[in-house]
Symmetry: C2
Subunit: 130 residues, 2 copies
DNA sequence: AGTGAAATTTAGAATTATTCTAATTCCAGT
DNA sequence: ACTGGAATTAGAATAATTCTAAATTTCACT
């Protein structure tokens, strides 16, 4: 009988202590940290962790679906503990990034998919304002 | 009497030949060029134009509302001759960026504005797919 | 427990995109 | 022509991220 991985959340293949430290940082902070902020915080818990490892871990965790990467406007990527679909509002003056919800999106996504030649995977809406 | 620049759009303060070259490149190409592509193309018309000037011109033209900057996902900003509101679809596999329209957005924008604490300026929707 | 292969981490170099600096040049208005 | 402010230039500087090569850890299998 094959060894079973109980999907997603439960058993995480290769969750090293570095990756775990990075995950903990993202999860215990109020979202939207940049890689270098995460590097600094993870370094406090795990002195000596390198930048490359933080980036590798962030990619690994993102691909594993445990965290989410947001790339908005110019500048550094940010990482979010929220993995459910939601949207963002960005202040055009100060750059603040806030979460908000637009439930109507699911309907829009089908419409959008029909309209483009794309097989839709996800839809993200960004509001710019003050 | 003021010196008049006879350019297509109404009154353009300070449309130097460098800025005009950059504008022409963006307008005569099928959209979505990166700054370095624009630098290369503008350099063909105006040998010696510098990177800084291309960036300065792109910012100037963007602020003047003559072109539009799109920053999607990771990577370089792209510049678009289209200045009307529209949305983008990005291929998660190959990175292709395509335009498409979602007219329903204007209604959504008001809803979104109400829901966030933002004074809405614009709303941009990004579809990820294949 | 011992071994080797594979995966991971590390430090630092390299890359890419963009901005900054300081010197020079260009113009519109006297 | 002269002048001051804006624009341009070359190249250095910065920031974010990825790459490289070596060292280390992990893990399945003896």
């Amino acid at each position: 009988m094959k060894r079973q991985f109980s999907t997603e959340q439960a058993s995480l293949p290769k969750l090293t202590k570095q990756r775990e430290a990075v995950l903990t940082v993202v999860r215990t902070n109020d979202a939207h940290l940049t890689a270098s902020e995460i590097y600094a915080l993870a370094g406090a818990k795990l002195p000596g962790i390198s930048y490359a490892t933080v980036y590798n871990s962030l990619r690994f965790l993102t691909e594993a679906g445990l965290i989410n990467e947001i790339t908005f406007g110019a500048g550094a990527s940010r990482f979010d503990r929220r993995i459910d679909r939601h949207d963002h509002a960005i202040c055009t003056a100060c750059g603040t990034l806030a979460d908000f919800e637009v439930e109507e999106i699911s309907g829009l996504m089908q419409m959008a998919a029909r309209r483009s030649k794309f097989k839709a995977e996800s839809l993200h809406l960004t509001l710019y304002g003050l």
